[in-house]
């Protein structure tokens, strides 16, 4: 709540002409915006370019921010649409569809199982993090928004243009996939 009030105070300063105040908003949200973009494009350079575009777009439209939602929700909506717009122009940005990508994680992990020392180095946390990155972009985005960016199902719905019910189903599906991966890997590990 305090963060939201700070955001609104900063926005007022920027709208009154103190452009440098915008840096505080960039600092506060850059990692979240960058992560959301990375979930879609999986390329750091491109993600930086798109994330920068998100902040410039947000700056230009700052007068349109009414404060009806959290600034973060509004900003992530711009990030979501910027990614979708990019992917529409460059559909080759995502190489594999979600399920194939997911299969690849499991297979990669299975292969590494032949080398016990490599497997030991990989913690479950790393695997899960990798698995989240390999979820379909939209699902990974929802997981990130829910767990990391502290957005409610309603807010995620506003960002992604889905109904809260659909968001709930997508989140359920993503969690099931993550659980499946963990179970698959742990059963492989126990068999060796």
């Amino acid at each position: 709540m305090q963060e939201q009030q700070e955001d609104i105070a900063i926005i007022q300063m920027v709208l009154q002409g103190r452009q440098s105040a915008y840096a505080a908003l960039v600092e506060r949200y850059q990692s979240y915006v960058f992560t959301i973009v990375m979930r879609h494009v999986h390329n750091r350079e491109l993600a930086e370019e798109l994330a920068q575009d998100v902040f410039v777009k947000a700056y230009k439209s700052l007068a349109d921010f009414k404060g009806n939602s959290k600034f973060s929700t509004w900003l992530y909506t711009i990030a979501h649409h910027t990614c979708l717009s990019h992917l529409r122009k460059r559909p080759d940005s995502t190489v594999l569809p979600g399920d194939e990508k997911m299969q690849l994680v499991v297979e990669n992990h299975g292969q590494s199982g032949h080398h016990a020392h490599v497997l030991e180095q990989r913690t479950q946390k790393q695997l899960l993090d990798q698995a989240i990155n390999r979820l379909p972009g939209s699902d990974a985005e929802i997981v990130t928004l829910f767990y990391k960016a502290e957005q409610s199902l309603e807010e995620i719905g506003a960002i992604t243009g889905l109904t809260p019910g659909n968001v709930k189903v997508r989140l359920f599906r993503a969690r099931s996939k993550l659980k499946e991966i963990l179970q698959h890997v742990s059963s492989e590990f126990s068999m060796r």
């Binding site: 920027v14 709208l15 452009q19 440098s20 915008y22 840096a23 960039v26 600092e27 850059q30 990692s31 979240y32 960058f34 992560t35 990375m38 750091r44 993600a47 930086e48 994330a51 920068q52 902040f55 410039v56 700056y59 230009k60 439209s61 700052l62 007068a63 349109d64 479950q124 946390k125 790393q126 899960l128 993090d129 989240i132 997981v143 990130t144 767990y147 990391k148 199902l153 709930k168 989140l171 359920f172 969690r175 099931s176 993550l178 659980k179 963990l182």
Partner: protein, 168 residues
């Protein structure tokens, strides 16, 4: 109850969703049913793992500097409601709504609902409208001319207003 329903309800419970009554019912099932209890424990563990595993990606150190350099060359656009009059939008929406309703009323009104023995489809009266006859008439051209003059007057008015606001 199917496995998927149980899982869905447990996730809703963990996420703090649902009404008090629903939550109380699920809490009771977790306390009494072994299947629900086991599933709940595994989901709580998975939830904690996901929470701890997700880390935000960090952009390069120059990122915020790059953004501020790009922002320095940008201008904040005036709020949309300052240059788009909501009543104009409502007027356009009303025009289309009325047009659609009029067409529907005309179409429904022209349908012959009596079924004949050899046809189950309602007969529609053919529209008796001669475009050439109406669009060649002088009246239509006069209406077009008036619309063009009104349009130009409207554009002129808007541009004058804009010039005044820019100067001020």
């Amino acid at each position: 109850m199917e496995q998927q329903d149980i899982e869905m309800q447990l996730w809703e419970y963990i996420d703090g969703l649902g009404t008090e009554t629903e939550r109380a019912a699920i809490a009771r099932l977790i306390a009494t049913d072994v299947q629900w209890q086991e599933q709940y424990s595994s989901f709580v563990a998975l939830n904690a793992e996901i929470e701890s595993a997700i880390e935000t990606e960090q952009p390069s150190l120059r990122f915020s500097k790059n953004v501020m350099e790009a922002v320095a060359q940008a201008h904040i656009a005036p709020a949309t409601n300052r240059y788009i009059n909501p009543s104009v939008l409502k007027g356009i929406a009303a025009f289309f709504a009325i047009s659609i309703v009029a067409v529907l009323v005309y179409a429904v009104g022209s349908v012959q609902w009596n079924l004949s023995a050899n046809s189950f489809l309602p007969k529609v009266k053919p529209v008796d409208f001669h475009f050439g006859k109406h669009f060649n008439s002088t009246i239509v051209w006069i209406v077009f001319a008036i619309n063009i003059i009104l349009g130009l007057a409207f554009v002129d008015m808007r541009l004058r207003k804009k010039a005044v606001s820019d100067n001020s």
